[in-house]
């Protein structure tokens, strides 16, 4: 019996309604007593392949007769293509095909705003032609030999300039994204802001900014594609195989049966690989025109120009509070340049809306199109940036009132969702604060630092290291939801495979799902293989939004549970016992209470010959309550007043994301989030040349990722209380939460160390020294 149910699903700060097809009944809340693998620190089931190099990533794929492709790109932020001369490239020995706007089908891209090869080029790196050749060097040389003549057009890269009525237009419908009513920007209001500020005893107002952060996954974007008759197989560097399949099928006019997308191992994605990119379509077209498989990977420069980034943000924030620290009003005006083809604005206002009980609020968010490559999701898009302004403003208010930053957060603690007044399924953030402060030594350090500063006399004229501490809170979704499906198959030899079209980003999905399946089957993990990353498997969502464990995990558990039940039902015929009196223990099927009455699984399966037991599972609807994940981070920094260098010395993170399936991969996620957040806080940022609009650091030399020497000591712990209202595993996502409070906590710690705030991130030596010089270096 199939039923249809409506439910709400939150992803990346936006909630939508989803229709769920429900077949059968989901298992009940999973009690701790039933678990042997879930909750245990478990090394990655695919760790050996990954570290020995036998794991094949997209660029490792070698297919018979394969050609290599390279893309020729526009060097200008805005230009019209006048003419193309491909003769020199064609004459190069080994060149097999060249595609341009003149011979490629005009397949729409970026919605309807552009085509696979357009003649109006709206950002540096926009594609003008592609070459397929016998080897990568020839393809790259040929791409360089394509002569293009451009009419260079006026451009705009500054979002505030692009918002002006007389600005250069990126598209005919205006630079600023419009809301459903056709107004520029998105507006969120609650209460009465004027009244709220009227009731405030203190007000803080400031302008914060964050830079464009590049994902820089080790594995760049790219595809290896092959046609076999009418069917197209795509090995794609993606975190969303079904999105790639849908998009390519639509672009090429193929039925879904004729497009298969495979991604077995992912070399990092961080949100930049949530859909099909143009190079995949280009590869498919080149493969069709040459009749040969095509290998097309982006180089590091192209990766940085066309494959997404975290949009920069400019955040004007105003916060009011009463003397006792009660927040009365908040106003934000948020501007995010989203690139030439950005279609959404990041949820920079998310933290402000949900984190504290602020009764009066007005937030405007402007997504502004500019002549750069488009932004994309990047690990908690918007929330990371928004936390910087919100948590920074809170510290400034606390300082004005002489309050402990932790105290003002507890004072405005939101037990319910402050916007809707709806309940949360679970919230233990207060416990995160308490444990974090204790582990970090917050109160003692604050006292010591205050005393030391008094003793040395305020001011930063010295040359000794300045020390400071700061903290910040985190809220995020991560509750997941439908649709996710899985199959669990028990083979005739008793081995089990779990089949699911999810992806393992490197986060440990395969391992976590194996733990879940093993516990649902009452079997050891050595029996279970988890097969992911193939659109021939049942549907699973993109690996993003911190939703994989909470979306796919329940479906896998249900599929495995169903398979186990079928096995017991089959065994009951041979053991002359009702199935509900049978259980699996140490690989045998045992009659409850009678350990001597048992049968090995192998013997049961032998009885049924080649029949495969197949269990089906799905992810059911979400509850009406709001599902959130929570956390707090504490940072200690030193700042060198001579060099301006910020060293993050130590970070403590405490998380509340429900049950923890695998403490080992969970901890890895938090380490990674903190490191990536630290990059945004102190070292990373795209730089664009103000006079030409071109990127100056589309490489790993000038774009400064944190190195090992930059890393702090990281101390991680969690609450671990299962959230069974959220789903029957009680688990929620940890993918994005750990990056959210990191830049805010570090920026607050730097402000504490300097005695003056650096409002613009990254907090570079230039900005530190400029701030110490009183705003003028």
């Amino acid at each position: 019996m199939v039923r249809v149910v409506r439910t709400k699903v939150e992803i990346e700060g936006r909630t939508h309604e989803e229709v769920v097809v429900v077949e059968g009944e989901e298992p009940a809340a999973w009690a701790a007593g039933e678990l042997h693998h879930v909750g245990q620190a478990t090394v990655r089931v695919d760790g050996v392949e990954r570290v020995t190099g036998s794991a094949r990533y997209t660029s490792d794929m070698q297919l018979p007769g394969m050609l290599y492709a390279a893309v020729a790109r526009c060097p200008h932020p805005h230009a019209r293509l006048r003419s193309l001369d491909t003769r020199a490239a064609e004459a190069l020995p080994g060149v097999r095909a060249i595609l341009t706007h003149e011979n490629a089908p005009p397949i729409p891209w970026h919605g309807k705003a552009s085509r696979v090869f357009d003649t109006e080029l709206r950002h540096e790196g926009d594609e003008i032609a592609a070459v397929a050749a016998d080897d990568p060097e020839t393809a790259e040389r040929a791409a360089r030999l394509i002569r293009a003549e451009y009419e260079v057009l006026p451009y705009v890269i500054d979002a505030e300039v692009a918002m002006r009525p007389d600005a250069v237009q990126v598209h005919p419908d205006g630079n600023v994204l419009k809301d459903e009513d056709g107004n520029e920007g998105e507006t969120y209001t609650r209460g009465d802001v004027a009244k709220g500020f009227g009731a405030a005893d203190v007000v803080f107002e400031g302008r914060f900014s964050t830079a464009a952060q590049m994902h820089n996954a080790l594995e760049t974007h790219g595809s290896v594609v092959a046609w076999d008759g009418p069917t197209l197989t795509i090995y794609d560097s993606t975190q969303a195989i079904f999105n790639v399949r849908n998009r390519l099928a639509q672009s090429l006019g193929l039925p879904l049966t004729d497009v298969r997308v495979i991604k077995n191992y992912v070399g990092g994605a961080f949100g930049a690989k949530l859909g099909a990119y143009k190079q995949t379509l280009i590869a498919a077209l080149l493969a069709r025109s040459t009749g040969r498989p095509i290998h097309l990977m982006l180089d590091r420069r192209a990766e940085n120009l066309v494959a997404g980034h975290r949009a920069p943000s400019i955040q004007h924030i105003k916060v009011g509070a009463r003397k006792d620290g009660t927040l009365t009003a908040l106003e934000m005006r948020i501007i995010c340049p989203i690139g030439a083809f950005g279609m959404w604005a990041p949820s920079v206002g998310g933290p402000a809306k949900e984190m504290y009980t602020i009764p009066n609020m007005h937030i405007q968010t402007f997504g502004v199109r500019v002549h750069t490559g488009s932004h994309s999701a990047f690990r908690a898009p918007g929330y990371v940036e928004g936390a910087v302004a919100l948590e920074g403003a809170l510290d400034e208010i606390a300082a004005q009132l002489g309050l402990d930053p932790l105290a003002i957060r507890l004072k405005n603690y939101a037990a319910k969702d402050p916007g809707s007044d709806q309940a949360f399924t679970a919230k233990h953030l207060d416990e995160c604060y308490r444990r974090g402060a204790e582990r970090f030594g917050w109160a003692g350090l604050r006292k010591d630092l205050t005393a030391a500063r008094k003793a040395s006399g305020a001011g930063s004229a010295g040359t000794a290291l300045l020390r400071g501490i700061g903290m910040a809170s985190q809220n995020w979704g991560g509750g997941g939801g439908p649709t996710a499906q899985a199959l669990c198959r028990i083979n005739s030899d008793g081995s089990v495979d779990v089949q699911c079209g999810s992806q393992d980003l490197g986060t440990g999905t395969r391992t976590v799902l194996a733990q879940i399946a093993a516990d649902a089957l009452h079997l050891g993990m050595d029996r279970v293989r988890v097969l992911l990353g193939d659109t021939d498997k049942p549907y699973a969502p993109l690996s993003g939004g911190s939703m994989t464990v909470a979306s796919v995990g329940p479906a896998v558990r249900m599929a495995a549970d169903e398979a186990r039940k079928q096995l017991l039902e089959i065994a009951s015929a041979f053991m002359d016992t009702a199935p509900d009196r049978l259980e699996i223990r140490d690989g045998r099927i045992v009659r409850q209470g009678q350990a001597d009455r048992s049968m090995s699984i192998a013997d049961v399966l032998k009885e049924i010959g080649d029949y495969q037991i197949i269990g089906k599972g799905f992810r059911g609807p979400n509850p009406p309550e709001i599902i959130r994940t929570w956390g707090a981070q504490f940072a200690e920094v030193t700042v060198d007043p001579v060099t301006g260098h910020v060293q993050v010395v130590r970070m403590t993170g405490v998380y509340d994301t429900g049950r923890v399936i695998n403490p080992l991969t969970y901890t890895s996620q938090i380490h990674g989030g903190i490191v990536q957040g630290m990059g945004l806080a102190v070292t990373e940022g795209r730089t664009l040349d103000p006079t030409s609009g071109k990127s100056l650091n589309a490489n790993l030399e000038e774009y400064k990722l944190p190195t090992i020497a930059d890393l702090p000591q990281i101390d991680v712990t969690w609450i671990g209380e299962p959230d069974f209202q959220a789903n029957h595993l009680g688990a929620k996502g940890i993918g994005e939460p750990p990056i959210i409070p990191t830049p805010a906590a570090i920026a607050n710690a730097v402000a504490d160390a300097l005695g003056v705030r650096v409002f613009d991130l990254p907090i570079t030596p230039e900005r530190v020294l400029t701030a110490l010089a009183g705003g003028m270096a």
Binding site: T463, T643, L688, T691, K694, K704, A709, E766
Partner: protein, 334 residues
């Protein structure tokens, strides 16, 4: 990258012959040792040499020899070796520190001292083939009006505002090194201060090296053992693996062991001009002075005299003054 010939040189003379007169400009033949700089320029499309001449096959270019107190370093000594060699660390600590603070472990394993001194500008405009900048033969220095947060603060002497990227160069300038250069016309000995050249309209490069010139050795003069010290300090925009925002090398001699009184001093500044430069006014001021916090700070102030910063790098002037004072203070025996 375009195809090229690759030759293993057997001798310095053979290498020079292979480098002589086959192509000019971006296509000119180039010597290669570690390749950590040259290969990046080839990948970026800045250089497309028709021929590479491998120096690693020339014997003896990676030796470190002590000649009666003068230390002779072969041009192919790697930065890693410089960092860890006992003689260098003991007598010329500024050089060991500069080598250790350069690049990353992988790059230090490959990169050689000669190549490090001959490396090209790291200015983002210079390195991007899309910008036909002045140093590459164009008419405009894009950094002057563009993003110049990492550029020169002594900008009056050259149309180009790049900074020299080498850390060892700054240390060698303070240590008064002499380079041995071999070319078609034979061998020359060049004080390091004369090796680096401010780029001019008719000489758009940062060194005196001609297309068939090779650095073969670097000589460090003796320093009085018990009464001298040297240090190199570097400021970066992350903890490691970055070119210097500013680098300061100091080498000084006390009047007597433990006197604290300066007999002579050389201060070299890196990352602040197209070539490493001496802080002459600061040096003159310090001679005969007791080194303490006040005199070190005054030397720092004098070291930045004449600085003319650009729109985004005024912070480097402060930084440089502070770093000079700190480097001097670090030489005081504890």
């Amino acid at each position: 990258m375009d195809p090229f010939e690759h030759h293993n040189a057997a001798t310095v003379a053979g290498a020079i012959e292979l480098l002589t007169g086959n192509a000019t400009g971006a296509q000119a033949a180039r010597p290669i040792s570690g390749g950590t700089d040259l290969l990046t320029t080839m990948k970026a499309g800045l250089r497309a040499p028709v021929r590479l001449v491998n120096l690693k096959t020339v014997r003896g270019l990676d030796s470190i020899v002590d000649y009666a107190g003068t230390l002779r370093l072969g041009a192919l000594v790697t930065l890693d070796t410089l960092e860890h060699n006992g003689l260098v660390a003991e007598r010329y600590r500024a050089l060991a520190d500069a080598a250790g603070l350069a690049a990353s472990p992988q790059l230090r394993n490959m990169g050689t001292l000669g190549g490090n001194l001959a490396q090209e500008s790291r200015c983002a405009y210079y390195r991007n083939a899309d910008f036909p900048c002045w140093l590459k033969g164009g008419t405009v220095c894009y950094a002057r009006e563009g993003d110049n947060a990492h550029h020169a603060v002594f900008t009056d002497d050259s149309p180009c505002v790049t900074v020299h990227p080498s850390d060892p160069a700054t240390a060698l300038l303070a240590l008064d090194a002499t380079l041995t250069i071999q070319g078609a016309a034979g061998e020359r000995r060049v004080p390091i201060g004369d090796f680096f050249t401010l780029p001019r309209a008719d000489h758009r490069q940062l060194t005196i090296l001609g297309p068939a010139d090779l650095i073969t050795g670097i000589e460090l003069p003796p320093l009085p053992a018990a009464r001298s010290a040297s240090r190199y300090l570097k400021a970066m925009d992350r903890a490691t693996w970055s070119f210097a925002l500013a680098g300061v090398a100091v080498a000084l001699t006390w009047t007597a062991p433990g006197s604290g009184l300066i007999e002579s001093v050389r201060i070299a500044l890196g990352g602040v001009a197209p070539v490493p430069r001496r802080a002459a006014a600061a040096e003159d001021y310090l001679v005969g002075k007791q080194l303490n916090a006040a005199t070190a700070a005054e030397a720092g102030r004098l070291a930045v005299q004449g600085a003319a910063s650009l729109a985004h790098n005024a912070y480097k002037v402060r930084l440089l003054a502070g770093l000079v004072a700190r480097a001097l203070a670090a030489t005081v025996p504890t």
